[in-house]
């Protein structure tokens, strides 16, 4: 008996050519460029005993760098969650002069090289920079403190939140607003009870991506951080310092922690995102 189970387009019957060629190119590239280099890291670590590995990754200065990195990244991600939500809302819901410019400006942190962002922020917020001159008399020291680190992280990762929330807000039907307002809810209540639950998954995804990016950021931070051991030294710099001391084993051990944490977080975000959002629109990633 024959069953006609194939709906149109659901299972291409490989009429199209190029399966072998595209599979070959993709697999070769992924193996050589993405996976092969990872073997170097594991090769380096294979020579370590578990106790030695543990001693390196829990050394005082290294642990302090985790704290600085995670703390600043968390603050940056939370601030970006609020700021990004505001920007996405304003860009989707309102018309005003200069809106297209503001929209284009959102991608600046992805387009601008991180080292350029780094020296610019450091110059702006140092004691004789445009911002530093205003803030320091008020008692706010930004450059060479963890606030500066969080600022640089927030700068490089703000597009993640805006560009993740924006399309979801655009697709939200008018009826959602109307229903809430007809029932007599105030703007604030309606936003909190009706809009926010729709945006929540996208907001968490965007904030999560911003957090992961901040954990690994290097170029934008090192200029403004001051890089004082135990106080304003980020983990990425810790790896760099070990490399400059030719301590490849130490660098690899710390790098493996960073690598593991960021891959695990990415996986969690991917699963979360797959459950709630069918497709995230492009953007620089």
């Amino acid at each position: 008996m024959i069953t006609l189970a194939t709906r149109a387009g659901s299972t291409p019957k490989r009429v199209l050519p190029g399966f072998g060629l595209s599979l070959g190119i993709s697999l070769m590239f992924i193996s050589l460029v993405l996976l092969l280099p990872l073997t170097g890291l594991f090769g380096q670590l294979a020579g370590l005993s578990l106790a030695e590995y543990w001693a390196i990754v829990t050394e005082g200065r290294v642990v302090a760098s985790y704290m600085v990195t995670i703390g600043a990244a968390a603050v940056a991600a939370l601030v970006n969650g609020a700021f990004g939500l505001l920007l996405a809302w304003v860009l989707v819901r309102y018309e005003f002069p200069g809106k297209r410019l503001l929209d284009a400006l959102m991608d600046l942190p992805f387009a601008l090289p991180t080292a350029v962002a780094g020296i610019t922020l450091a110059t702006l917020y140092s004691s004789n920079g445009w911002m530093g001159r205003l803030l320091e008399p008020l008692g706010f020291q930004v450059a060479y403190t963890w606030v500066g680190i969080a600022l640089a992280m927030a700068f490089t990762s703000i597009p993640f939140v805006v560009r993740t929330v924006q399309p979801v807000l655009e697709d939200l039907p008018h009826e959602v607003d109307e229903a809430a307002l007809t029932l007599g809810a105030s703007d604030g209540t309606a936003f909190r009870r009706v809009i926010l639950p729709h945006l929540w998954p996208a907001l968490v995804t965007g904030t999560g991506l911003a957090f992961v990016r901040s954990l690994g950021e290097f170029g934008a931070i090192i200029f403004i951080a001051g890089n004082m051991p135990y106080e304003t030294e980020i983990t990425a710099l810790m790896i760099f310092v070990k490399l400059q001391e030719y301590d490849y084993v130490g660098a690899s051990a710390i790098a493996s922690v960073v690598l593991f944490v960021s891959l695990a977080l990415l996986l969690v975000i991917n699963i979360w995102q797959g459950r709630f959002i069918k497709r995230l629109h492009g953007g620089a990633g």
Partner: protein, 275 residues
């Protein structure tokens, strides 16, 4: 019809907040780059930019970007074709794997290449026997740049090609068109703008990569210094105006990237209206 947050007072407050904060947080740094670069006049800017080491850094940066783009283009198109036109086991894993460069810290990216291809790595020591040194030379810079930029083209193409489906291509094949003709005449016209934007993003990241490149470059002035590494050295030497002169060149490329993105989006929106 009324929508949430439509009251004029709320609207004005939120727009004001968004514009003011973006101005302070995003626009001010951009202005500061050019203000610093030209702080001592156009003459000093020009002598900074035409300085022998800066010119060498510009050359190396463009050379690396020029080699990176075709590699990423071939990979991106092949991967997008593979995962959107065929169904096979492991398809989703492939799509997850290409996100690795986005999750990996640039310093870690540089490190894993250094460990493998450096003198102490298993591949590096073997190559060393043939007197081939990849690290602390331009091939190393090229390799890590390809690593950090390879997802961009694929990421732009996959959602688009998925949405477009493969009906048109299947029709062309059924009518007897050979594979390459189908790709050139049917697929390419449909994806050319996304392809272009993918290339622009790849280029922006390739010229600006800092963390990964600084690990594998060795930063030899006039030889293995890319523009971002060059401006770092100038900045560390307290030559702020010189550093910002180089930075302004990169910021200019970033501005072109933003303009290109805005105009491509505008074109796509206009076509949607016409359709």
């Amino acid at each position: 019809m009324q929508r949430i947050g439509d009251a004029p007072r709320v609207r004005r407050l939120l727009v004001f907040l968004a514009v003011a904060l973006s101005g302070l947080f995003l626009l001010l740094p951009l202005v500061a780059i050019f203000a610093q670069a030209f702080a001592q006049g156009v003459g000093v800017f020009w002598s900074n930019v035409s300085n022998e080491y800066t010119v060498a850094a510009i050359g190396l940066t463009l050379f690396i970007a020029l080699l990176t783009i075709p590699v990423c283009l071939v990979f991106g198109v092949a991967l997008a074709w593979l995962v959107t036109r065929f169904r096979f086991p492991g398809r989703r894993i492939l799509q997850t794997l290409i996100d690795i460069p986005f999750a990996v810290s640039p310093v870690v990216a540089g490190l894993i290449y250094l460990l493998l291809y450096g003198r102490t790595g298993w591949l590096g020591s073997w190559l060393d026997g043939y007197d081939i040194q990849l690290m602390f030379a331009w091939p190393g810079i090229l390799m890590v740049t390809i690593f950090v930029t390879c997802p961009f083209v694929a990421r732009e193409l996959i959602p688009l090609m998925q949405a477009q489906g493969s009906r048109e291509e299947e029709a062309a094949v059924t009518l007897g068109a050979p594979g390459w003709t189908v790709f050139r005449r049917v697929t390419l016209p449909n994806i050319r703008w996304a392809l272009l934007y993918g290339v622009i993003l790849t280029n922006a990241r390739a010229v600006g990569e800092f963390g990964a490149v600084s690990v594998v470059s060795g930063a030899i002035r006039g030889q293995t210094n890319t523009l971002p590494l060059h401006l770092e050295q100038l900045y560390q030497d307290y030559n702020t105006v010189g550093a910002f002169a180089s930075a302004s060149l990169l910021a200019f490329i970033a501005l072109l990237t933003l303009v290109a993105k805005a105009s491509l989006e505008w074109r796509a929106a206009r076509r949607e209206v016409h359709a």
